[in-house]
Amino acid sequence: MVDEVIHQSMRLKIMSSLNVLPKADWLDFSRLKAILQTTDGNLGAHLETLSKAGYIAVDKRFEGKRPQTRIRATPAGRKAFADHVAYLRAILDSAPE
């Protein structure tokens, strides 16, 4: 069964990136944007979708006077990502020789 939230290409990339981090670690918005080579608006929209699905946690805070947004995958997000990668691999495994 396809998870429509995570199946979209940019959201899958976001989850791939966050899944690499240790469970307690956060990734800065700006760093995630650089890794994915996308724009603020595009990344922000997809993060909102993932956040509503409960797949990521978003933390907005101030570091000194500068606002900082940090993101990390939730346990539900990590499971959804692992399930979706398994689903994609199963499609390839089912390919006729």
Binding site: V2, S17, N19, V20, P22, A34, I35, V85, R89, L92
Partner: protein, 186 residues
């Protein structure tokens, strides 16, 4: 909605590419702290090397001690945020032992081969930047680029700048390590 094999292949390739880039960014971010620390120490060391005469060796011993302590602290801080304290201490200790091994190897051959001061000045940056180049073959090409550039500037200083070698190394190697460190952490 169904997914065909072509799409699945493309998505899995995209996942693998994103994971690789993320790991590179994480390594760069951590390496940036080490580069800034050692860059500052190299600026100080090379800037004062030709003014302190017999005390130069003492200056470098103090700077190296600060560098090893700082390296251990940066490693411990990075690892302890996600691993138990004992693991962080072990990783920090291994980092210091690895650094001391490299330094011991270099010192041994500098003394055995009776390097002059200019050779010593050029040896350490060229040794470290060659290691940086090799590291880049696995950990990310930015290390190789920085390593190759600094190796070239070190050799250029050795062959063409005569008495200005130490100041040249302070600016190019120390300064570039600091700049490179901030660039990697961006």
């Amino acid at each position: 909605m169904t997914t065909d094999q072509e799409e699945a292949t493309a998505l899995l390739a995209s996942v693998a590419g994103t994971e690789r880039r993320t790991r590179e960014f994480l390594v760069y971010a951590r390496a940036g702290d080490y580069m800034i620390l050692w860059g500052i120490l190299w600026v100080v060391g090379f800037a004062f090397s030709d003014r302190l005469g017999a005390h130069t060796r003492t200056l470098w011993l103090c700077l190296d001690a600060i560098g090893f302590a700082g390296t251990a602290y940066i490693t411990w801080r990075a690892v302890s945020s996600r691993e138990p304290g004992s693991t962080a201490r072990n990783v920090a200790l291994r980092t210091v032992v690895a650094s001391l091994t490299f330094m011991g190897f270099g010192t041994l051959w500098v003394d055995l081969a009776h390097f002059g001061w200019r050779e010593q000045s050029a040896f350490w940056p060229s040794f470290v930047t060659a290691c940086l180049f090799v590291l880049g073959l696995w950990a990310g090409r930015a290390f190789s680029i920085v390593g190759a550039l600094l190796f070239a500037t070190t050799m250029a200083g050795y062959f063409f700048l005569g008495p200005w070698l130490d100041l040249w190394l302070a600016v190019t190697c120390g300064g570039a390590l600091i700049a490179g460190g901030f660039w990697l952490r961006r």
